[in-house]
Amino acid sequence: MSLQDFINDAISPWMNNEGNDSDIVLSTRIRLARNLEQVPFPTSQDQESQQKVLQHVEQEFNEQSYESFKQFQLVKIGELEPIEKRVLVEKHLISPNLAENTETGAVLISENEQASIMVNEEDHLRIQLYYPGFELSEALQQAQKLDDWFEERTRYAFDEHKGYLTSCPTNVGTGLRASIMMHLPALTITNQMNQIVPEINKLGLVVRGIYGEGSEALGQLYQISNQMTLGKSEEDIVEDLKSVVKQVIESERKAREWIMQQSGIQLEDRIFRSYGVLAHSRIIESKEAAKCLSDVRLGIDIGLIKNVSKNILNELMVLTQPGFLQHYAKKSLHPNERDWFRANLIRERLQLEQYKN
């Protein structure tokens, strides 16, 4: 497989479009949790009813299209190789939890990989929609339409008082989780995230690092999402998240300007050192790669690095994860080998940029 083919395989088609505020917001995700009426939830471990749900989805929705979501393909987890499963997880098309359900787990993916519907995760259906950049209103609107399309052929578990019934009490009501993935290097460098995160939490929103464990945000990528799903309409949930994200975007822009003014040459040095590491290293750990990629992306966004495509951060953050590395190597790799392979892949990817120019 050529590197270009591999990248095409790794990058979902929707990621190639540029959305609003794409210098800071990488992507928008809407997720709706839904269950079928009178069928025990997947958490009950009742295989027979899970099979019924799977059959229903296969019969009604496999190879169907709805408006811009063309040709939904049903992929059964049990029929995938371990590396294939890992690749789907790394592309955020399925959750690690679903990847473990080899008996009845499945995912319905649209051709452009923008919509993916997980079947028999914690809930019968988890409708997910991705948009590039900051696109909350459009994403919600499309998710609602997709939900209506499902509802035409499915009877959802719904209660007048409690709304959509879900297996976890944290999702009941709207079943809606709206998330924004943001690149916040300047707020991180200036140590402002430590103050911002508790403030955002007070507003009923959750901030977490996307890659990496616990509080450490690898690649200075953060996800902000709503926590509350009951007692607020979908539109209000999205509006509240939107206003907070707007403020964070403003703060990040100000912080970028401030660093440029205060310590422009240090920042420039940091960015080009990171570029040098990516362009020349022979062994690189995922943590270092993430840090350098974040610096380079910042360099592109503030105009210091030219002739390198903006997508490089999104792309290489996905590509350099263990599943993809092994998919590219076509064999399983020992962690040491992965660091070596990762360095190779990043170098080749940067060279590809040079040929383009």
Partner: protein, 181 residues
């Protein structure tokens, strides 16, 4: 060390439980540990599980009740999926939609803590139910009117209202029958 349960495999999970000051050690192989529920959480659900069990007011609620009632609550079982109250308490997850009714009296304090004091859904309503909701509200309204008309001895008008209620009820019944899965 051998697994205490199957005695077939090497024990891989070692667990120390302290119950009423009595220390109990558990040594299981990975598979048995899974079956016994010692490993049933991935990273994410581990934190969520802790988050939930910490915020569930179970213990508090249970401690305040007389002993008999506690025992009855512990064996309270959902008819829909067989989940017991104790299992729900441990997992923090429902087994089916009926659980919401079965454990109803315990849920509002949980919802309030998770959803900033809210217990009522105000968002989207499925189209199928949306129509019914309107009809049911109309029926409630018509019933009040009917009562008033009977009190006023306006029986002719009352008969009209009664027929309208009947029609609405039939429509609800029919839409309940239609559709599958």
């Amino acid at each position: 060390m051998q697994c205490q349960k199957c005695h077939d495999h090497e024990a891989a999970v070692h667990y120390t439980q302290v119950v009423n000051g009595q220390k109990k050690e558990v040594h299981l192989c990975e598979q048995c540990a899974h079956e016994e529920g010692y490993m049933n959480f991935t990273n994410e659900s581990l934190s969520l599980h802790h988050f939930l069990t910490n915020m569930f007011p179970f213990d508090q609620a249970v401690n305040q009740q007389p002993k008999e009632q506690v025992q009855r609550n512990q064996v309270m079982t959902c008819e829909g999926c067989g989940l017991t109250y104790a299992q729900f308490r441990r997992k923090g997850k429902f087994g089916c939609s009926q659980c919401y009714e079965t454990f109803d009296s315990y849920l509002n304090p949980i919802f309030k803590r998770v959803h900033s004091g809210n217990t009522e859904h105000v968002g989207k309503i499925p189209k199928r139910i949306g129509g019914q909701l309107h009809k049911r509200k109309e029926i409630d309204q018509l019933k009040k009117e009917l009562q008033q008309l009977i009190e006023d001895e306006n029986f002719e008008e009352a008969a009209h209202i009664r027929d309208r209620i009947r029609t609405l009820n039939q429509e609800i019944d029919e839409s309940n029958k239609g559709g599958d899965a």
